[in-house]
């Protein structure tokens, strides 16, 4: 088992990192301070050709592999995890789910502009009272002639304030519980659809988050994604890939916090020597590296496995590995962020140094896209079901 990157993958990683460093690096403080997203962010990514990596070529994508998508996510997250998370929501939560589940008509209509970055995508599952217990969602969709009428609200929706195209889950048959959920594409400007102002967050700033409200919102019946009452299938089909790609955000953070720490510990002198000469600092660097490599190996392996796996979900090897990869990588990144701040001392705690930002950003990845606790439940469920690994 080896995952040597191909020359193209290496070139792509280098290019995306360079782009992030040159284009986002100089404004990263503004992004964080003002919770600001550079206005051409999605169009620029579209031009770089990284918004449709795993999408079929006939819809404007590149038909490439999950690992390549992870690499792009990782490189972008090294500099700006917030905007990188917005990219993942756009690509994975929205576009990829449309590609996997929607009708040809919907794919032709929505995928090309998403992939070019002309339209911004989002996904709305979570509700004010349905987070980890997503199946308890209350948003309702009722058929009315050639439309569905949506009522309810969605909470913490990444890209909510800027999204043109939202994949929304709602109950179409409340009595059937999880088997009564359906997925719809709702466009910005649909009658009865409104977005609250941006939610203020501790980290992942530059990735706008909002609450979405549906008040007798009319959605064309043809915007149903997948089967009626088949929402859970839509939700779970790409879940393993989604976890692997989201884990790439943590990986980028783990790496960058380590890079900053190596550099700083060689430059900063105390007691007449660079602080990297102290064993306690060295131990931190070593642990940070081990965490980074362990995350990287799990994520890349999961990415390769997800590529080959026809079907993920319950009972498959990829499900437990993907959950383990994101569980471990997210905690590793928070830990690396915290260690990096420690190595930077007082300067690390100040807003001028980027390590504290990465530390704040890292924490979200133990919460969003499934919490650490839920990830552990999934892994345990799989292990106990099979009685072995």
């Amino acid at each position: 088992m080896h995952f040597e990157l191909t020359e193209e993958q290496r070139m792509l990683s280098d290019t995306v990192y360079k782009w992030a460093l040159n284009e986002l690096g100089p404004v990263q403080e503004k992004i964080d301070e003002e919770d600001w997203m550079p206005p051409n962010f999605f169009r620029d990514l579209g031009r770089l050709g990284v918004l449709g990596i795993t999408v079929e070529e006939r819809y404007g994508g590149l038909g490439m592999d999950v690992l390549t998508e992870v690499l792009v996510t990782e490189q972008l997250a090294r500099i700006c995890p917030g905007p990188a998370m917005s990219m993942v929501a756009h690509v994975e939560l929205c576009a990829s789910n449309i590609q996997r589940n929607a009708s040809d008509y919907l794919k032709e209509k929505y995928l090309p502009p998403l992939i070019r970055g002309e339209k911004v995508g989002a996904m709305g599952l979570t509700e004010p009272n349905a987070g980890s217990d997503a199946m308890a969602l209350r948003c309702r969709a009722v058929r009315n002639g050639n439309s569905f009428i949506l009522n309810g609200s969605k909470m913490f929706i990444t890209n909510g304030p800027i999204a043109d195209i939202v994949l929304v889950y709602a109950k179409t048959a409340p009595d059937l519980g999880p088997k009564g959920i359906s997925a719809f594409i709702v466009e910005k400007g649909a009658p009865g659809f409104s977005v609250s102002s941006k939610i203020k967050k501790a980290g992942m700033r530059g990735s706008p988050t909002a609450e979405l409200n549906f008040d007798d919102c009319e959605v064309p019946a043809e915007n149903l994604v997948g089967d009626l009452n088949g929402g859970v299938a839509v939700m779970t089909k790409g879940l393993d890939v989604e976890r692997v790609v989201v884990a790439g955000l943590s990986l980028g953070i783990s790496r960058q916090t380590l890079d900053y720490s190596i550099k700083y510990s060689r430059e900063r002198e105390q007691f007449g020597v660079p602080i990297c000469e102290f064993q306690m600092i060295q131990a931190k660097l070593a642990e940070m590296y081990a965490r980074y490599e362990a995350s990287r190996n799990m994520i890349y392996r999961a990415a390769c496995l997800a590529q080959g796996a026809g079907r993920g979900g319950k009972g498959t090897q990829i499900t437990q590995l993907a959950a383990a990869a994101i569980l471990y990588a997210a905690e590793a990144a928070t830990r690396n962020g915290s260690d990096a701040v420690q190595i930077h001392g007082g300067y690390g705690y100040c807003l001028e140094f980027p390590v504290q930002k990465l530390w704040r950003d890292a924490k979200l990845l133990e919460i969003g896209a499934g919490t650490t606790e839920i990830r552990k439940m999934i892994i345990a469920r799989e292990l106990l079901r099979k009685g072995s690994i």
């Binding site: 020359e7 193209e8 070139m11 792509l12 290019t15 782009w19 770089l48 050709g49 590149l62 490439m64």
Partner: protein, 259 residues
């Protein structure tokens, strides 16, 4: 418009350079290499010309070992059409003159309307190759170019270059050699589709013999050294401010000789 872009692969500016213990060169293990930034301006300018005239070709011309393929591929991913890679053991420690010789021979085989060089390479900083190449090919040259306008009949170009405190505007007949300076343009990023396409583009491999050249170096480095380590500063402690100021001023005058 057929442009030849002379492109060098150099250590990344973020790389920490170490000199070999025997002083014969730098330690190359673990160095990350990139396209010389000035050559990126050249690639971009050549691509823009091709786009503007909707015709022509952008050919990348590189001298160097195997690792340089990656730099050529990156330029191809930006949109260049094909590459020529002169890879010859005898050229591994070539001086600017030998490189110019090789480039001149390769350029003569190729044909061109324009030849771009970076005005210098950020590794050895010689800044000689472009000028020597123009001499060897008997071409007019303009160095440190920050703006380029090709006449509609493609027989000449109007070129701007930075001079101390201002700009100089020069008209130059084609073909010619131009050396690119910062400010010429904003190089584009290779796109992912571009990277995929680059895989299929052709890179011709050549040796010095293929070009009928035996390397004739005129310069040989004798020694590389790191800049001297900064000496520890001096501290003047435990004295009255007025007294300290006096001593420091005296030291600045007689020891440091800065005032």
């Amino acid at each position: 418009m057929k442009s030849l872009v002379c492109l060098k692969q150099v250590p990344d500016t973020e790389t920490q350079i170490k000199v070999k213990p025997d002083g014969t060169g730098i330690v190359t293990d673990g160095i990350k290499y990139v396209i010389n930034p000035y050559d990126e301006f050249s690639v971009e300018e050549a691509l823009r010309l091709k786009e503007k005239f909707k015709a022509g070709e952008v050919v990348i011309l590189t001298v160097g070992p195997d690792r340089c393929t990656e730099a050529i591929r990156t330029a191809l991913a930006m949109g260049a059409d094909r590459g020529i890679h002169v890879n010859d053991e005898s050229l591994n420690d070539a001086d600017p003159y030998s490189i110019a010789q090789v480039l001149a021979a390769a350029a003569s085989q190729e044909g061109y309307d324009l030849i771009f060089c970076g005005h210098r390479a950020i590794d050895d900083d010689f800044g000689e190759v472009g000028a020597m190449l123009a001499e060897l090919l008997q071409l007019p040259q303009v160095t440190l170019v920050t703006k380029l306008e090709i006449a509609d009949d493609t027989q000449s170009a109007v070129v701007e270059r930075d001079v101390e405190g201002g700009k100089e505007v020069i008209e130059v007949p084609l073909p010619c050699v131009l050396t690119s300076q910062k400010g010429l343009n904003e190089p584009r990023y290779a796109s992912l589709p571009g990277i995929m396409k680059a895989k299929k583009k052709k890179i011709d491999k050549k040796t010095a013999a293929d070009l009928g050249i035996t390397s004739e170096r005129k310069l040989a480095p004798t020694e590389y050294t790191m800049p001297p380590e900064r000496k520890a500063g001096k501290k003047y402690e435990d004295m009255e401010p007025a007294e300290a100021a006096k001593i420091v001023v005296e030291a600045l005058r007689s020891e440091a000789k800065v005032i």
